[in-house]
Every structure is written in C-alpha cells, then in structure tokens.
Subunit: 264 residues, 2 copies
C-alpha cells in the first residue's frame, strides 16, 4: 500500500528522504551559484520549511553550507570544495587526459574540453583555454544538454537511433535559434558524425561558437569525448576539417593510453 502511494508520487520506495534532500540542497546551491534563504529553498524544492530547517542546521554545522552575515542566506560551504577535486583525481580518464589536452590546446591554439555523458547532459571534466588560465577551473562540473553540444553528439553517435530516442528527453530543449530540436535532423546528424568520426556544433548552445568533438573508444571511457571550440570567425569549414583531424588524433592518443592502463 505505502509503496504504491510512494510510487504514485514518483518516488522509489527505498529512497531515504532526508538524504535525497541534502543532495538536492547541494545541487540547488551549486547550479545557481546562488545565495538563497530557507524559505526560497523550501519552495523551490517543494519541502516544508521546518523539515529543511533541521537539514540545513546539520549541513551548516559540518560546513557544507555557509550562512551569510545577516544569518538569512545560505551558500555552499568550504567542504563543498573537497569532492570535486577528489572525483577528478580518482578518475583514470581525467587523470590521464592532462597532457593530451595540453598538446591539443597548444596545437590548435583554441579552447579544449574533456566531457562526459551523464544522462541527457554533458559534464565538463577538464578544460584548457587559449589564454585565460584563470577561468580554467570554473567550467569544470558545468552541464549542458547533450543534444546541443559537439561533445554530446559525438558520444550519442555511438548509439543507434532507438537507443538515442530512449536516452534523451523529448522534446529537445532549445538553447539558441540554431539548436537542433527536430528528432529526424538530430538522428541524421548523428549518423553523419558516426560516418566521419567526429561531431560538430554550430552555435547550438552558444551563439557564434563552433565546436568539434570526437568520442573516446568505447573500451574504457564509454561516455567520454574531447572537443575543441572557437568563435565562428576563426572556424570556417576548412579550419573545422583541420581541427577535426587534430581532435581525432588526440582522442586516439588518449584512447591508447587508457587501453594500456586497462591491461596494466
């Protein structure tokens, strides 16, 4: 009976409520980079204030959230720093990618990314910028819809049409006027990407940015890809083909490193 009621509300029966809420708080404060009041968070999460109050007390005591001077707005705390670097250090792909990304950034002179597919999103694991080393860390952890990025399309092109249909959220979200939201057009682009070995994004998530990406071999990093992005002004079709070659080489090099590690 109670499991039916829980399922009716969209909850799996064996999920710990307050545990899920802790994670939701972290995601809420994380995605927005925001400073929110208890009441704001309670309404955003559809949770009673009094319940959230006890949870935030716990999180504050352990320094996972901070309270501002006025004592009324929450933001992420210092402990939130720990997990990100630890994830990257424990990850083989991210650990080995460093030199490969450096080389690709050096060769192309443009921004270079390592991304991972997570559900319908692409998450940036690492980034090399042409100039601003300052911003390097800031994009790591960010998410974009897979269908609107070269990285995502490169990874999705490894699956057949039915699997893609199953994996994405329909209808597809539109981020720019050029975002591909038509299912048939997306499937066509994925087939093309599979044939040529690389995928492209032409202003589909950020106006005026073109991006080329290649997925790593499905062996170790099934859901990983490398990309290179630049403003359209520096990315005509000839340059795209040139960069696609460089990115393909880099992806192949990283794939080889990973295979070696797998056999160790």
């Amino acid at each position: 009976m109670e499991s039916v009621a829980a399922a009716a509300r969209g909850r799996k029966p064996d999920e710990v409520k307050s545990a899920a809420r802790v994670l939701e708080v972290l995601e809420l404060l994380g995605t927005e980079g925001a400073r929110l009041s208890l009441a704001e968070m309670a309404s955003a999460m559809a949770v009673p204030k009094s319940s959230l109050h006890a949870i935030l007390r716990t999180m504050e005591a352990r320094r996972w959230v901070d309270l501002d001077a006025s004592g009324t707005r929450y933001s992420l705390g210092l402990k939130a720093l720990l997990t990100g670097t630890a994830y990257l250090e424990g990850d083989d792909v991210a650990s080995l990618a460093g030199p490969v990304l450096d080389a690709l950034a050096e060769e192309t002179g443009e921004s270079v990314h390592l991304g991972r597919l997570d559900g319908t999103d692409v998450v940036y694991l690492a980034k090399r910028e042409s100039r601003h080393a300052l911003r390097m860390y800031s994009a790591v952890g960010r998410r974009l819809p897979a269908h609107a990025t070269a990285l995502g399309k490169a990874m999705l092109s490894q699956y057949d049409a039915a699997e893609v249909q199953r994996r994405l959220d329909w209808p597809l979200a539109r981020l720019t006027p050029d975002t591909v939201t038509d299912p048939d057009e997306l499937i066509r682009q994925l087939a093309e990407a599979r044939l040529q070995g690389w995928a492209m994004d032409d202003g589909e998530n950020s106006v005026d940015i073109r991006c080329v990406a290649v997925a790593l071999g499905t062996g170790h990093g099934a859901g990983d890809a490398i990309s290179c992005s630049a403003p359209k002004s520096r990315m005509d079709d000839a340059r795209v083909r040139e960069i696609a070659g460089a990115v393909t080489e880099a992806a192949h090099a990283l794939g080889t490193l990973l295979k070696r590690l797998g056999q160790h």
Copy 2:
C-alpha cells in the same frame, strides 16, 4: 532524557542523522580519493550496514556516488563535480584572486596558493603551478593543519596567543620531523610573523619544501592568505626575503581589490 543520551554520545539533539551521514560519506570518499565497499564505510563511520545501504542507494540514484563494475566498491559520482566550482564562483576572494595569483606566479616562477582558514585546517582555494619540473603536490580543496603551513601561520598570526590556544587542537599533529608542535615555539613564530608581516614554513608539512605566506587584510577575507612555495634548493634565506616582498605586494593588491568591492 533522550537529549541527555544524545549529548552523551557527542551529538547535538537537533541534527538529522541521515543528513549527517550523507555528508560523512562524501567526506570519506573525498578525503581518501578511495573506492570503498559498503562494509568498509559502515565500519569507518560506525554505522550499521543496513542503514548505510539505503543512504548509498539514494546517493547512487542521484549520481553522487558511483558503483564500480563489480557492483561492490563506491566512489564519488559526477554530481560531486558541481559543488566545488560553484563555491569558488560564488566567492568574492577566489573570483578576484585569479589575476593577482597569475601575476605572482609569473613574477616568482614558483607555485602560488590562495588558502582559507577553516577551523584548525587550511583549505586551498586556488593554485598556480610552478614552471619548474620539480614542484610540490597540492590540489584545490585539500586540507592541511594550519599550524604546519605558512598559510595557516600567516592567518593565525592575526590572533593573540589566547585566541590561538583556543582555536587549535592540542597537542599539535606532527607531519614531518620539522613540524612545530611546541606551543611556546609556535606562539613565538606567530609573534614574529605578525611583526614582519609574513609567515614561513620550513619543511613543516612536506620535507624539503619552503613556503612564505601573507594574510589578506581582516576587512573582507578575514581568514584568507596567499603563499608561494618552492623546494629548499631554490629557497635560500635571501630568496625567502625576496619572495616575501612579492607575496606581500600581491596580498596588498588583492586586499585593495576586495575593499573596493566591499564599498562598491
């Protein structure tokens, strides 16, 4: 009655148990960079396996932890990447420090850090790596005991002896043969640091590494400091004084930026 029992076990009465456990899991998987089994974590946290099981299910469903192929070892999940970057982006000091750290790294050619005091620990907020092949290992989000680092001593030197006594865990932990564990010696060094405006660490957390640090003004970033580190072979006493000057300038520059922001 129950509050007495809870207090006797060292727990505050108004702490949500499973919320605290979620955070403990994240800290456990984060500090070690480890892959742990359910049983290992349960024993490390002194929590029943069955209770932890439900919590880990919840965390896994939301991709805060990953289960390896064998289905028996947990590690941090992709969501763990989000919080770290968000904390840094929402932080004025970390956001403004970028160019200042770049300049200091350029000027000295050595590793440069921005650190924040959190209880008895120093947490690294940002770093710039040395050009030299031989360089110290560190990472954003990592923690070291404040008394064993130049960053920590620079920040602690802003407090008087009684306050320092209150803030640190006694007896002081020893990380290397040169770690200062004598209370009187530490107080003496802090007084010296306060006089000269900068603090030093001479192989006290990593053998063979010397480090010089300066705290930011107490206005905005009360618990923040900047440091510069190098192997002893590149850090004789003359070089220490030279670098101390550069770090002091950088700290002053960042302090000015922050003050301007505060008045905005």
